[in-house]
């Protein structure tokens, strides 16, 4: 295996592969920074370029581009409070408040460092699991997925800021919204009001873009005297602090990466869930959970590590079975077929060198992206000093295009605007926004796998040990959070509420 790892590295650093890798990194950086413009669409556009290429250079371009998107997206999240990618929305929650405090450098340093470690961790797990990939993925069936969905929902409380009640209401609202669309079992349209656009449900991308990004922008615009924005030069010098803090919180990086990989491995859960679980977990285990949402560096670290680690996990079912767990992975799978590779056992035997070269591509591309990010950090930070009346319209334009381009649908622009309004209202009256997102993502998962489990196993599945174990963990989590809230001294509530302290 070690020998093959070495030969795979040689293939990746061969001149043609390396050139493709660097091209991929450059494209990925731009795409990642532009909010909403997703990696999946760009991957699809790049596919024709790879016709006739050898597998390793082709994957250098595609996979290199894709993993860099997640890293570059952190810049948009931290500097403008807009998630660069839907699966990196959690970075906004603490990265942006840190920026408002003038600590953009510290936040980005931590984000870049944790992203690199997360990526390396992700593919390291992939490599270590190669001998047991297949049985591992097959162990997880619909009942386990349903239980994992419940576990995710248990994090709502810790993502709710100060008010668990408000958080639960928002989560419930999210679950209700997830019911919009065709019933997955009978095909009957629900709450679609005669509009075919709603048949496939409310898309997560326009909701994230509107609820988190757009709402934040409108805040800037409505604030005539720019109170919410930091004046003067953002401290870029804090980069090293951020990197060192990541090192200090190494165990958190490992745990967040592990969550990312675990969620990524399971087809059907999707990457947007991993970040919130990791973020909720970081808050849950922090000694000072009240700082989360106001600029806690642990929040940045957990989100950064998860956003790249999940891709290592997502490669597992794609390589092992040809079952992609996201649209991006589906496009990558298309590349497999075009390049004449058969996902499945042969990827772990005859074509092992290609599989291992992907490991190196992820590592090298992330490191290159972090280095590029380090160099560009200073100029990019200057962007935040642009006046609101110039910045806001430009960004709104980008957000609109982002919401549109995901499925080339104007309906998604309307969805984005609607959730932008919801977001502004939520900020104004201090209702947490993230539980709504989590409810929307998990509602669909819970319904789908409940019905599947029931039609496959009737009720037997509720007695499976794995299901009982996961649900028990979820219950423990809920109980511990309630106890913690009850025990919390009342004085904490008296802390003067600042803009930064708004619920996430």
């Amino acid at each position: 295996m070690l020998e093959q790892l070495g030969s795979a590295l040689q293939q990746v650093v061969a001149p043609d592969s390396l050139a493709m890798l660097l091209l991929g990194v450059a494209i990925g950086f731009v795409v990642g920074i532009l909010p909403g413009l997703g990696g999946a669409v760009t991957l699809a556009l790049l596919i024709p370029i790879t016709f006739g290429m050898d597998p390793v250079p082709a994957f250098s371009l595609l996979l290199g581009m894709y993993v860099v998107c997640a890293v570059a997206g952190d810049f948009t999240s931290v500097l403008f409070g807009i998630p660069g990618e839907a699966s990196a929305a959690a970075m906004v929650l603490d990265g942006f408040p840190l920026n408002k405090k003038g600590q953009a450098g510290r936040a980005l340093g931590a984000a870049l460092a944790s992203s690199v470690i997360g990526a390396v961790f992700g593919v390291a797990v992939l490599t270590a699991l190669i001998p047991v990939l297949s049985p591992l993925v097959l162990m997880i069936g619909p009942p386990e997925l349903f239980a994992i969905g419940l576990l995710g929902l248990a994090f709502v409380a810790s993502l709710s800021g100060k008010n668990m009640f408000k958080g639960s209401i928002m989560a419930a609202l999210g679950v209700l919204l997830s019911l919009v669309g065709l019933d997955p079992n009978t095909g009957i349209p629900r709450y679609t009001f005669g509009s075919l656009e709603l048949w496939e449900g409310i898309g997560i991308v326009p909701v994230v873009v509107g609820l988190l990004g757009g709402a934040e922008l409108l805040q800037i615009m409505l604030d005539k005297d720019n109170r919410t924005r930091h004046h003067g030069r953002p401290k870029v010098g804090g980069i090293r602090t951020g990197v060192l803090e990541t090192a200090k919180h190494w165990f958190l990086v490992v745990r967040a990466s592990a969550i990312g990989v675990a969620v990524g491995i399971v087809p059907g859960l999707g990457g947007s869930m991993a970040q919130f679980i990791a973020y909720g977990h970081a808050k849950q285990t922090s000694k000072k959970p009240e700082r989360f949402g106001r600029g806690a560096i642990e929040g940045v670290i957990a989100s950064g590590a998860t956003s790249t680690a999940k891709d290592g996990g997502a490669l597992v079912p794609t390589i092992a079975f040809g079952v992609p767990s996201s649209v991006s992975m589906a496009v990558l799978l298309g590349a497999f077929v075009i390049l004449g590779l058969d996902p499945g056992p042969s990827m772990l035997t005859d074509d092992l060198d290609v599989t291992l070269s992907m490991v190196w591509i992820v590592v090298l591309a992330t490191v290159a992206a972090a280095a590029l990010g380090y160099v560009l950090l200073r100029p990019l930070t200057h962007l935040t000093r642009v006046k609101g009346r110039v910045l806001v319209p430009s960004l709104i334009l980008l957000l609109t295009l982002g919401a549109y381009s995901e499925s080339n649908s104007f309906a998604n622009v309307l969805v984005m605007l609607l959730f932008l309004a919801v977001g502004v209202v939520a900020i104004r009256w201090d209702w947490p926004r993230v539980p709504l997102l989590l409810g929307l993502v998990l509602g669909a998962i819970l319904e789908r796998y409940f019905i599947l489990s029931h039609s496959i196993y009737d009720w037997e599945w509720l007695g499976r040990p794995s299901v009982i174990a996961i649900i028990a963990v979820a219950l423990l989590l809920v109980v511990s959070q309630i106890l913690r809230a009850l025990r919390k001294p009342r004085t904490a509530v008296d802390t003067p509420r600042t803009k930064e302290g708004a619920a996430v």
Binding site: A44, F51, L196, E197, G322, A330, G334, G344, V386, I456
Partner: protein
């Protein structure tokens, strides 16, 4: 303000990426599409067979028409959304779509909700591919051949894994149940066909039916075993040992099996909006034919596992018309498959 040019450049790049940029329009009287931008709509998300076929075709078709052909993914309502849109688009040759013909015709036959188009009215350009559906099972499971399925060794009903009602794989499950009198049911709710396949692989569900192209990797890898072919297995070595649906149905069901086989084999076809000018339709049909019948193109397509099976636009239109006259019993089956 160095930022503004940067942002403007970014916005311009995005406009180009999302296909908003439009080349100057030609004058209204000519049928030529030279210099125009043609949208080739794929009614599904990026990734997967339809997207790959379209992205392979677009540049070549553009060359042939001296135009720019861009691929636009418009997923939604299982393809019905994009089809409805195409039915209302300007028939000037600048909007084309790649259809999943079994779904396209099937949902019209069944009178599925949401269908706002007359399936016969489209300007069909030509067929790009046609392949059989293959029913497969896990290599590890108790079932080895189709006769095992028919013998029903198991006490429990045989289970098909599928995404949702109206999908090609759901249709196959319903049709096989009825035509062969199987004790079977379709388990629905998988989010993608790939996930449904994974359900079979893990032994939770028995069977999955899908087009040959999307199953080829699984069959080659040895993880999955082919059991039954719906359509022609000509030239497909992996299917050599499987029975063909049309050969194993009882005589009184033969007509239904023929209808279903024809629907499955209607494959992937390119179409324009209803009412394209005859000369322009000929122009586009001709360009399409030249591209896909070019031996070099066909070889490259074969190489990338997206084999071409060409039929002329007229043949596609005739086939659609014939399928729309399917026997009542078959329409009833499709209605069941669509949950209508």
């Amino acid at each position: 303000m160095r930022l503004l040019p940067a942002l403007a450049a970014g916005a311009a790049a995005m406009l180009a990426l999302t296909g908003c940029a439009n080349a100057s329009a030609g004058d209204g009287n000519t049928v030529s599409l030279a210099g125009r931008t043609i949208e080739l709509i794929v009614p599904f998300a990026p990734g997967g067979g339809y997207d790959s076929y379209a992205r392979q075709l677009a540049p070549k078709l553009g060359e042939e028409l001296d135009a720019t052909v861009i691929v636009v993914n418009k997923p939604g309502a299982g393809g019905v959304l994009a089809t409805n849109e195409l039915s209302k688009a300007e028939p000037d040759g600048t909007t084309l779509a790649l259809f999943n013909m079994p779904g396209h015709i099937g949902s019209a036959l069944a009178g599925a909700p949401g269908v706002q188009y007359d399936v016969n009215s489209f300007s069909y350009i030509g067929r790009l591919s046609s392949e059989p559906d293959v029913v497969l099972t896990s290599e590890k499971g108790a079932i080895d051949t189709w006769s095992d399925v028919m013998k029903e060794k198991d006490q429990d009903p045989t289970r098909f894994a599928a995404t949702g009602p109206g999908s090609n794989e759901y249709m196959d499950g319903v049709v096989l149940h009825s035509l062969l009198g199987l004790d079977s049911k379709v388990i629905t709710g998988y989010s993608t066909s790939n996930e449904a396949y994974l359900g079979v692989l893990s032994g939770v569900v028995d069977l999955h039916s899908r087009s040959y192209g999307s199953q080829e990797s699984a069959l080659k890898s040895g993880d999955a075993v082919p059991l039954l072919t719906i359509g022609s297995k000509q030239g497909k070595k992996l299917l050599a040992d499987t029975p063909v649906l049309a050969d194993i149905v009882p005589p009184e069901k033969a007509e239904l099996a023929r209808s279903h086989t024809a629907l499955v084999e209607s494959g992937r076809a390119i179409a324009g909006p209803p009412g394209m000018k005859p000369e322009q339709l000929e122009l586009v049909r001709d360009a399409f034919r030249k591209v896909v019948t070019d031996p070099e193109y066909a070889a490259a397509a074969e190489e990338s596992r997206r084999p071409i099976s060409f039929a002329t636009g007229q043949e596609v239109a005739d086939n659609v018309a014939a399928l729309m006259r399917s026997p009542k019993a078959y329409v009833d089956l499709l209605e069941e498959a669509y949950g209508v």
